[in-house]
Amino acid sequence: MLRIAAVLIGLIFATAAGAAPLERDPTLRGLCGNAAASGEAADRLLSATPTLSPDDLAFADAAIGGLLSKKLVCPAAPTDPVALKADTGAVDLATGAPLAALPKGKAPVVSLKNRAKFERLAAALALLAAPNAAARAAALEVLAKSAADVPADLFAAAAGREPDPALAARISSVADLASLYGTDIDKRVAAVARLAEGENRRVLTEIEALRADPAYASEPAFAAAVDAAAAKVSGAIAIGNAAATLYNGLSFASILFMASIGLAIIFGLMGVINLAQGEFIMIGAYVTYVVQEGLRALLPGLLDWYLVIAIPFAFLVTALIGIALEASLIRHLYRRPLMSLLATWAVSLFLINLVRVGFGTQNLQMETPFYITGGIAIVGDFIMTWNRLFAIGFAALTLAGTWFLIRRSGIGLDIRAVTQNRDMAGCIGIPTRRVDMLAFGFGSGLAGLAGLALSPIYNVNPQMGTNFIIDSFMVVVLGGVGSIAGTVIAALGIGQINVLIEPIWGAVAAKVIVLALIIAFLQWRPEGFFTVAGRRK
């Protein structure tokens, strides 16, 4: 009965749209079948999309959307209807009628091959029927990637319906790519030029393949177009690769810099070998997590901005812990560097286990707000990822803040004075004890900020700090103990060299080579890049 009604409704709409009606129930049963049947149903549906009525488009969209989001329930019994889970209850998908109860069954697991088909199908449906232009444009991007697998009349149909003239032109442009392998040489030349707008390796591979085409030998215009396109695309790729290397180096450098700037203050300016520095980074990340959870509970609207809101908390909490540590432990050990090394190591183990008891060993679930998700293609194959850009920007701001505080503020002047000559600074009335405490707190707070900046990039767990301690000592020693400029240059150098070596000899060799280079450099200049006159003992 229901099925007849469905066919009737379908017929009415079909007549209105002047197209063949979609056989909904068989389509759904096909989608619910095994991988092969499901894939075939998707293929049939895709080739039918250009002629579907608006009602059938909405139906197909619901079915494919339901499949991909696992809201589609395939019934165990063939007599039960294929259902779609709704916010309240369920609907019979073929008829749209609400169902009293969800039929017994399960959401099918989509195989990888079919997932690609369904995603293409969902994009085709969105291009034809999505209400907003941005969604249609996004769908076009998906389809353009695999234009060869899309029926040609789909683009024609979509361009005909498209109300936005700019988007309609883009649709036709993608459609024209299909004539790349046609017979009309003028169209082919135009298609090559359009293809070259893509400027990535995938396009280059396709263009290079055209050199084997018979037309390349027989038609000089075509050959010239292919050569020009290949040159244009490979030029863009070369620029993109260089930019990617620079960007990757810069982003790695920003991480190294964030991890080591706090140590540059504590070890560099104060001469304390603080092995708990990594744990301050970890605590900064945990404070960020606590702020995130607090926002989730109290101000869910601001949850996306937790990384910004947590900045003062991450800094202050770790700074206070640092000050407490300095006042209770470190100040007794200023004249005994070996003891301070052992004591801070103990503190590091203590903090790790404290966090482990308090939060557990698992990786924390950090939200990824929209502004650090994904990336944007710049040129060639260079994708600028937002989370790395966030880290780079954060490092730049931290550098500016640190530089200002040390070079331009009163307390900075005091810190520099105490560093250069503690006794003389004391004689002229600088409260050296308080300066020590503040400097240590500042160095710890910077590590806390590092934890915040690294939390969207790395796993946050009690162990995370130990990964950074070696790298940060490496940067500080190479840069020249006590020099902020040295820290920056060392971080940039190590980051860039790592990224340059990695693709050639692999990540393991990159680490070895970088360490060997540092050893060689320190043989030549034991004091690092920059030297600051200070109380080295």
């Binding site: 990888l112 690609a116 390796r201 796993n459 990964n467 990540a507």
Partner: protein, 416 residues
């Protein structure tokens, strides 16, 4: 107030500190208080260090299985007493504690190790004391000791079926392979065997690429760039075979997402990826990536329902610090191990290792995976089912494919 001199505070702090430290510095092995007439089993799973998060939960599974057996009357008239320890993810410490357990505590069997390097470290100890070690992880094979029971699958019955699936029409017709692993024995051996396998299938050497990163590596930008470049070359569908372990796994996936690669573009077959590795990740952009194990939480059947309910109950009753709703393959394998040992000991009527080993022939057990797992006289391998999982939105895996029965384990790979 005046009484609080600095000295008295330090003294008080010292006493408080000693109070805190003493219970922690108790001997390594934690014994439960049980009377005589018990048989001891030892666990070698780290609850601190890099492996803590995934390995630590296996201690509790072994205890849970022992409780089950004890509730049913024990083995040979004796109750099982489980000793746990913490080798702290420090490979040589596994051997040291293993030796202590075998020689001083006289445990009837050991259950332990996750990484192959820890197993290799314990191996000489169990062989020397003629002990018995149940190893619950799938691994690189190429080892066959009479003192180790390999409860999980060698590559021939885990990795190769998954690669076959990827290469098939039903999978993605994979033609090219980017092998990315952590730099130690398991990934290198697996990749060596895979290369042999590809060669035997007539796949050209240009169709694969092999890269290694140090353990704990996290900066995957350049490598993901390389994967994109590899994927854009000609020659057919590329896939990534990921043998990274530990914290590198989520870091890799995070970079993979950010560079905008989807499973439908380049699928990743993560050989060591379990549900616990996806904790803390938004898995929506990862949907479709694959793993392969001898058990997945989504396995159907009453045995799995019972196991999941038992684990949930055990976690809640004993306040176990792990998630009650996550169950991973090595947990089930550890659970199977205890039952297999108990069945063998009961069959032999003895706890002597040679007797128990002899009794392995013909044992079978209804594993929570839904397969009847079995052992033969040929070797100490257990034949298990094969699952291929596909990452879903809920930080778990859906079953994409599973074998019809349990393939016969092949300890030594013919491919390398």
């Amino acid at each position: 107030m005046t009484n609080f001199t600095r000295r008295s505070i330090i003294k008080a702090a010292g006493v408080a500190g000693a109070g805190l430290v003493l219970p922690l510095s108790a001997p390594n092995i934690i014994r439960s208080a049980r009377a005589a007439d018990t048989v001891k089993l030892g666990c070698l799973f780290s609850s601190s260090g890099t492996m803590a998060n995934i390995e630590g939960r296996l201690n509790f599974v072994v205890k849970m299985a022992a409780d089950e057996i004890n509730a049913a009357g024990g083995v040979n008239g004796k109750m099982i007493d489980v000793l746990t320890s913490d080798p702290a993810s420090d490979w040589p410490l596994y051997a040291q504690i293993g030796k202590q357990m075998l020689q001083q505590e006289g445990v009837a069997a050991l259950f332990g190790c996750w990484t192959s390097v820890s197993r290799k470290s314990v191996l000489p100890v169990v062989e020397q004391s003629n002990g018995l070690l149940f190893y619950p992880l799938h691994f690189e094979g190429d080892e066959n000791s009479k003192n180790v029971v390999y409860v999980n699958s060698p590559p021939a019955s885990s990795v190769l079926p998954a690669v076959d699936y990827l290469m098939s029409d039903e999978g993605v017709s994979a033609k090219r392979f980017f092998m990315l692993g952590s730099d130690y024995v398991w990934p290198r051996t697996i990749n060596k065997q895979l290369k042999g396998y590809f060669a035997s299938k007539g796949i050209a050497e240009t169709a694969w690429k092999e890269e290694y990163v140090p353990l704990g590596f996290s900066n995957f930008q350049t490598l993901v760039n390389q994967i994109r470049a590899f994927a854009d070359e000609e020659g057919g569908q590329p896939v990534v075979i990921l043998t990274c372990v530990g914290s590198s796994i989520p870091d890799f996936f995070r970079e993979f997402i950010n560079q905008g690669i989807k499973a439908t573009d380049v699928p990743v077959l993560g050989l060591d990826v379990v549900e616990a590795d996806l904790e803390g990740l938004d898995t929506a952009p990862l949907v479709g990536h694959l793993n392969c194990w001898a058990y997945l939480q989504a396995a159907e059947g009453p045995a799995n329902e019972k196991f999941l309910a038992d684990w949930k109950g055990y976690v809640e009753k004993n306040a176990v610090p792990y998630r009650a709703d996550v169950s991973i393959d090595p947990m089930v394998s550890a659970y199977d191990s205890v039952h297999l040992w108990a069945m063998a000991a009961a069959k032999a009527g003895s706890f002597d290792v040679p007797e128990v080993t002899k009794a392995f022939d013909g044992l079978s057990f209804d594993c929570p995976s839904g397969y009847k797992i079995a052992m033969t006289a040929e070797n100490n391998y257990v034949s298990r089912g094969v699952f291929i999982g596909s990452v879903n939105e809920a930080q778990g895996f859906d079953i994409l494919w599973q074998s019809e029965d349990t393939p016969k384990p092949v300890p030594f790979s013919p491919f390398g």
